[in-house]
């Protein structure tokens, strides 16, 4: 396909002339800008490339490309794109209660309220930026080294752990996972769990998420006790699921004034069903957040992304069963072996490099991906990953609008960028 018509490329000519050390061409004269006479045949039309090659060889300034001249100016065009208007609106949900509201939190966090796809501010301004809740656990757990080194000093004490999340890592919310209550782990009692929740509420003044162990038989009892211990604080209770006594959890949340997470596994219909059950139990719409399940980068992230994106689109199109803020357990990213394993188990792979660089990036990419699908809230673990996801989502949200004008880099200069920091 390439230049079939050409007989001799200008590169050939240049090389040819170079090879024979030709510095000057005899019998070649140049008239004006582009006309060229060769030998005894004046006026022969030569390909512009050839003219240029010859000219540059002879040190003649290169003229503008003749094709361009013929065209003159750019053809005028305007870019216009219609705004998308959606019928649906995502529920606005507030987590945490201040003293005035019957709790003891210093501030509350509100998520949801969208009338557009995430960060499509040109359709409709996103009302609340996504929020990040940093995880802590009620017992020391096995963590990837890159994560563990940040929490080693506080793993024995959930209150201290929560405090560190807020003070040192700037967490807007904290999630306490009551995993020790799992009968196959430590089988600690619901009362112990309630005590842990009280400790965490004492230790930090941000809104908190209370997570069970994920054991469907034990969680109803544990979360009920935790909800009671945290009465009036408007915590987020994680979670109600179809394969357990969700009714007991929902009723406890309702009674003690909490928000509940409705959790299903990559299944839109199950999510609609569970949400409807919750409506039937009298849970108000503004007390529901959904968790459609997070899968890690490389391990089902495509399913999680599409599942969330479809739910959000359905909600915007008017499906009220799905019009709720979405919570994502981004810490799941650490389940990917690439996040923690030292070397690839596959012998033919290129070198994986240090695991400590990979892990946080797996968390970042998983978080941003689900943020772009429709996630409103991210439960995360690695401080740097949380910081990066927060910065990017806030920028896309528009938090830095007006602030950054002076700092815009001359982006076209990336072509010649030579390693320095470009401050403009």
């Amino acid at each position: 396909m390439r230049k079939e018509e050409k007989k001799l490329t200008l590169a050939d000519i240049a090389r040819f002339l170079e090879k024979y050390d030709v510095l000057e061409l005899e019998d070649v004269t140049i008239k004006g800008d582009v006309e060229l006479e060769l030998g005894g045949s004046p006026g022969v039309a030569l390909p512009p490339a050839l003219i240029q090659a010859l000219q540059s060889l002879m040190g003649v300034q290169r003229p503008q490309a003749p094709e361009g001249k013929e065209l003159g100016e750019l053809l005028p065009a305007r870019f216009e794109a219609a705004r998308a208007e959606w019928a649906g609106k995502i529920e606005e949900v507030t987590i945490g209660a201040t003293r005035a509201e019957g709790g003891t939190r210093e501030r509350t966090v509100t998520i949801g309220g969208e009338r557009s796809l995430p960060f499509y501010n040109f359709d409709f301004e996103m009302p609340h930026k996504p929020v990040i809740s940093l995880d802590c656990f009620d017992m020391p757990i096995s963590l990837a080294k890159a994560v563990r080194e940040h929490y080693e000093d506080v793993m024995e004490d959930p209150g201290e752990w929560a405090k560190k999340n807020v003070r040192e890592f700037g967490a807007e919310m904290v999630t306490i996972h009551l995993i020790s209550t799992d009968p196959t782990i430590k089988n600690t009692s619901a009362r112990d769990a309630a005590k842990t929740v009280e400790d965490v509420l004492q230790a930090v003044k941000v809104p908190i998420v209370i997570g069970g162990s994920g054991n469907p038989d034990k969680d109803p009892e544990v979360l009920e006790a935790a909800a009671e211990a945290a009465a009036g604080e408007r915590c987020l209770i994680a979670s109600a699921n179809l394969n357990m006594d969700y009714e007991r959890i929902a009723k406890a949340a309702l009674k003690h004034g909490h928000v509940i997470i409705s959790w299903t596994q990559l299944d839109i219909n199950a999510q609609k069903t569970l949400n409807r059950y919750l409506f039937k139990l009298g849970v108000p719409r503004e007390d529901i957040v959904i968790d459609p399940t997070t899968a890690a980068l490389g391990y089902g992230l495509d399913y999680a992304f599409t599942n969330i994106e479809r739910m959000r689109l359905a909600a915007l199109k008017g499906d009220k069963d799905l019009a709720f803020p979405i919570s994502c357990g981004i810490t799941n990213a650490w389940g990917a072996r690439e996040a923690w394993m030292k070397n690839s188990p596959i012998k033919e792979d290129s070198d994986w490099g240090p695991a400590r660089y990979r892990g946080p990036l797996y968390e970042i990419v998983t978080g941003l991906t689900l943020g772009l699908a429709g996630g409103d809230m991210f439960m995360m673990m690695h401080p740097q990953a949380a910081r990066t996801v927060k910065r990017v989502t806030q920028m896309l949200f528009g938090a830095e609008r007006g602030d950054d004008k002076a700092q815009k880099v001359e982006i076209a200069d990336w072509v010649t960028w030579a390693g320095e920091v470009v401050k403009k």
Binding site: A49, R78, N243, W352, V409, T416
Partner: protein, 470 residues
């Protein structure tokens, strides 16, 4: 694609149900065309002279909304664009985002060779195949045509990957084209200032070209001007600002362009889009390499998900390439492919009756991961694949799809006891909580394997064969 249903497509086919295309009826073939699962060429009768008009019209109507262009030549040539939908579940995305990693003309020869080699040879195993990256972008930092030419020559000689020639100076670009025009490189870029010269160049060398402007009116103008001049292998770069409001605006430009192209059929912007996450490095500088690489990968993620068809990146550290390329694989996987594999008892290698028996779920991803970990390490074994409705181990244990009853049933219905002589089952570490109950219900000895199948080789050295009496 301009046709909205198989019936509409059917109207353009011969309607003879001759079966030449491999389908029983023209309508069946039309359905597959609609899903972009077949090429029109398979309907050979349509290529008879009497159908010439219909064929031409149908080909036009079937063309994807976003123009598909190809860069490079040969086995590693890469198609970009060709998309028809805004959300992958509406059909699928077709041509995954091309990842182009940079080199520059001020590198010394050795450094350049090593970098080109690393990019060219990089690979990572993922679901039954090796992922690779797609292109090398050569930046002219020197601004010197001779130096650029030399660099292009060296790169072209060393790699079969497609090349992107990057400079705003037409002289420099031409020096690159002289070296590598036969490689069908993508030219970067024409802008408001240099467009006449670059237009001349790409017409002459017949290569695809990127148009750059963060101003969408100007970008549209450039696209209209080039296409009117007969140059339609275009890529649009609306600018990638790395931070702050600039980033938000860049994101919105990508969204608006792609939506206008697909939903409103705005012809002037129906071209592949380019993002340049490399601009992250301009804010962090080379001395903050880790942070810069994270920021670059973060921006890359945003634009992999939202509509970049090709992107230019700087970090070739493993963490960057693994994360970026895996995300591309995830977003561009066809969502129509099945989530699960057939349950059953698989033989890995040549297992004997003493071989270990591993259990996993029928979630395709889990299955292929475990299967490749075992086979790549040459562990002859049996793999019992149970039907968890296509859900992975951890989630299936939590959700109850992986349970003792299911395991018992699988052991019985696949007659596992007839294959092995040891009645020992290795379950995934993530299913540890099922071990006791499973022993009680099945009478088999249950060993808890590692939490990640990548550790099976290590696990084997201390745990297999099982010590008698345990």
């Amino acid at each position: 694609m301009k046709l909205r249903s198989p019936m509409e497509i059917w109207g353009y086919l011969p309607g003879t149900n001759c079966g030449e295309c491999g389908e029983k009826t023209c309508l069946a073939f039309a359905s597959l065309l609609k899903e972009r699962k077949r090429k029109l060429e398979l309907c050979t009768p349509l290529f008879e002279a009497r159908y010439a008009e219909k064929r031409k019209r149908l080909a036009e109507l079937l063309a994807p909304e976003i123009r598909e262009i190809e860069i490079g030549v040969g086995a590693r040539a890469k198609k970009i664009g060709g998309e028809d939908v805004l959300h992958r579940h509406e059909l699928t995305f077709f041509n995954r985002t091309a990842l182009a990693y940079d080199v520059w003309d001020t590198m010394d020869a050795e450094e350049l060779n090593e970098r080109v080699r690393r990019i060219t040879e990089w690979r990572k195993f993922y679901i039954g195949d090796f992922l690779t990256v797609d292109a090398i972008a050569i930046r002219s930092i020197s601004g010197d045509a001779g130096r650029f030419a030399e660099c292009v020559r060296a790169v072209a000689a060393q790699t079969d990957l497609p090349i992107v020639l990057c400079s705003f100076d037409a002289n420099v670009l031409e020096a690159g084209l002289k070296e590598a025009a036969d490689r069908n490189p993508l030219v970067y870029a024409a802008d408001k200032a240099n467009w006449k010269e670059v237009l001349g160049l790409v017409k002459r060398y017949k290569v695809p070209v990127t148009l750059f402007s963060p101003d969408l009116d100007t970008l549209s103008s450039l696209a209209l001007t080039f296409s009117s001049a007969g140059v339609t292998n275009l890529v649009l770069d609306p600018g990638t600002y790395p931070t702050g409001e600039g980033l938000a605006e860049s994101f919105s430009r990508f969204l608006r362009i792609r939506r206008a192209a697909i939903l409103e059929e705005k012809k002037v912007v129906t071209y592949p889009l380019m993002a340049v996450p490399l601009t992250a490095w301009m804010r962090y500088g080379a001395e903050n390499a880790l942070e810069a690489s994270y920021w670059e990968a973060a921006i890359a993620s945003v634009f992999i998900i939202k509509y970049a068809d090709i992107m230019i990146l700087h970090s070739i550290e493993p963490h960057s390439m693994i994360a970026e390329r895996t995300l591309v694989a995830n977003i561009y996987t066809d969502p129509r492919r099945p989530v699960s594999v057939e349950p059953g008892l698989r033989e890995i290698g040549a297992p004997t009756e003493h071989a270990p028996l591993f259990l996993t779920t029928n979630f395709a991803l889990t299955y292929y991961t475990v299967e490749s970990d075992i086979s790549s390490n040459k562990i002859d074994s049996y793999l019992l694949v149970v039907d968890t409705e296509g859900i992975g181990v951890e989630a299936a244990v939590a959700g109850g799809q992986l349970n003792v009853g299911l395991i018992k049933e699988a052991l019985e219905s696949y007659k596992v006891a007839e294959k092995v002589n040891h009645k020992t089952l290795v379950i995934p570490g993530l299913a540890a909580r099922l071990s006791g109950e499973t022993e009680d219900a099945t009478g088999w000895t249950v060993l808890v394997g590692p939490r990640d199948s990548g550790r099976i080789p290590d696990w084997m050295t201390t745990n297999w064969p099982p010590k008698s009496g345990s």
